[in-house]
Amino acid sequence: MKLRKTLTLPSRAALLGSAFVMAGLPAIAGGDLIWARYGDIDSLDPHRATSTLSMQVWDQIYDTLLAFDEDGVARPNLAASWEVSEDGLSYTFSLQEGVLCHDGSAFGAEDVKFTIDRAFGDNPSLTRTSWGPITGVEVVDDLTVTVTLESTFGAFLPFLADSFSSIVCASNAEAEGFGTRSAIGTGPFKLVSWVQGDEVVLERNGDYRNFGKPVENAGPVHLDRLIVRTIPEPQTRLAALRTGEAHIAEPPFDDIPDILAGDELNLVVAENTGQNVFWQYTVSRAPFDDIRARQAVAHATDPEMAIEIVYGGTNQREWCPIAAGVFGNDQEFCAQYGYPYDPDRARELLAEMGYGPGNPLETTMYVWTGGNRHILAEIFQAQLADVGIRASIEIMDIGTMNARVREDNERTDTTAPGTFNMMTWGWYDPDILFALWHGGGAYAGYQSDELDAMLELTRELTDEAARLEAVQDVIRYLMTNAIHVGLYTPGWEWIFALRPEVEGFKVGAFLHPMFQDVRLTD
């Protein structure tokens, strides 16, 4: 479509950026770049939050053992190389030499051990399960560390490329106020200050070296400082962008057409974000304990139309339970089990269940606040009404939503109709499905031994082909049973508007913004 063409896609942006560098066009090194976002980070501690907002800042402060390349494949990074034991139960990483933590201490095996031990400590990481069945970390020498697993774990290496596995330098143990006032890593930027709700100020890490990130610049960043500022109001962000109070910001969706219509701002729209927005239901009680009700909702709603209205073609329909760019995602494969917009089919299903114009199906739709999702919800609400599903909307914070969905599934003491929700997850690997559905999963939702077995398989298999098959089995199961119905991707914070003087900004796979190549021209 027209829109796509005019977009500066990440890869091309990179080329563009580098082209300038090579041509040596006037580009002053240094300067402060202000990045305006709708919300603040929750914590500087990669074990204490799961929000994209937080992760994107961790990326700048910390580094990871592995790193995703442009296609989202995990490559060596802080870990120059590694060996896997025959049984696939122990990984031995040899680390890069001469890397320094922000406090000047040398980065090494101790830091890796510190990080992993911490993740499994008495106040464990929120994403502990995703680390895998780790049983021990062993420092072989300064630059060699061995991690042993209880069982083989296919998603182990990808995880080590994700922000959740950010390496936290051991020196943080002494540092006071880790996570709020201090954060020592090996990333391209050092923490200067964090004023909660207002801004995070980062400064150039002169000792930084890049090994695996898909950027041109292997050394320290060109910028002097990176200021990540919170500006909740889209209009305010846009105005800030236009007046130069900010260099990069997520624009209001309704203004995207204008921006594309050749005004000075540039757009970067991330792809392969791993973000998945999907229908999910309270399967523990009526009406959604009946697959027909779940299918009816899926058939009654038209994501294509909705996202076109709300996001103007900056994202696309996603058929799969795991988003584009993630291992195992295959639109053709998923589509055959999917639920295309078909209100008549929906009405049939409802009729079979005994619902009709006379007695509509009453339920409630939970939606995560922000990102114009409430408009999306209103569209779906209207479409559902057409087929005789009366859904009231409750908009809430994502944390609350997670809790409420789980609560609804666990509650047995009520006769109130079950709810359904427009759930949102961004992940780098199909392992998310294990977190979401194994033994009921994060939401104590749908549970069956058959599914559990399939999910366990996706974890244990390490051979790509075999794993792909297992993953597709899970996908088929989830979709035919209408447990996890994909809607669209990406879903949030994937559009970046740039001032013209910003060059070399790129967003890697799974929504990792990278500033290594960024320069401010005048």
Binding site: P234, D254, I395
Partner: protein, 291 residues
Amino acid sequence: MSAPAEPVAAAPVAPRRAIWALLRSPSGAVGLAIVLLLVVVALLAPVIAPYDPYRMASGPRLAPPSWDHWMGTDQLGRDVFSRIVHGARLTLMIGTIAVGISLTAGLLLGLVAGYAGGWPERILMRLVDVVFSFTEIVIALACLAILGVGLINAMIAIGIASIPFYARITHSVVLVEKNKPYFEAAVAAGASHLRLIFLHLLPNVIPTLIVVGTLGVSTAVLAAAGLSFLGLGAQPPQPEWGFMLSSSRDLISGAPWMMIFPGLAIAITVLGFNLLGDGVREVLDPRQRAR
């Protein structure tokens, strides 16, 4: 919030005379007109509204005010005018429910405390004062933190939140009335507690509460709009004015009409009740009229 701490209305005013007096006072007349208009609009909403307030694509999306859409359309092409017209119902509901709750509870509290006197009064009113000093909005927030968001919850929250206000006013009036000889005369006549409270105190408290209640509606409407604006009140697709305002924020520059009209609606409604309240006070309180 300004309200008469001292009781209004020295002498009773016959209903018919009251209406006339009200219509003669400029604020009263205008206020009454606005409030009546609001009521009419609310009652006849389906008749007045040219479109279904919920139907999408009643027109093009984000169309500026035009002959077809007097107040333009929103992101989903819904007719803003129709939504505002239907919003009047919600607004009226908010006003009555919230004030209903706080007025009844506050009245009883104030009456009992004021009449009982002694330590029950002291403790009760001290408590009320304390809660009062938290201010409505914070109490409302606390309530919503418990009840969860939603328009009905917001109404309840606001109702609860302003109980102390009404309790204090009732109490202050009761104190004044209680020390008037007529009350003592009734005691001397051997009147029972109930008789004293409901025949002698209550009628003399009512006028003040009519005034405060009218003004209270405006406060309630404002508060509810505020909560909805913050996203704690009305939920989509309810055409609640405060909520419409909040969803207009992203479009201030692109579609200002989405911000201007709901705001106007709230302002005019609140103004109406404020004026009416002032008017009623003038009518009921000769001292005020002298000014």
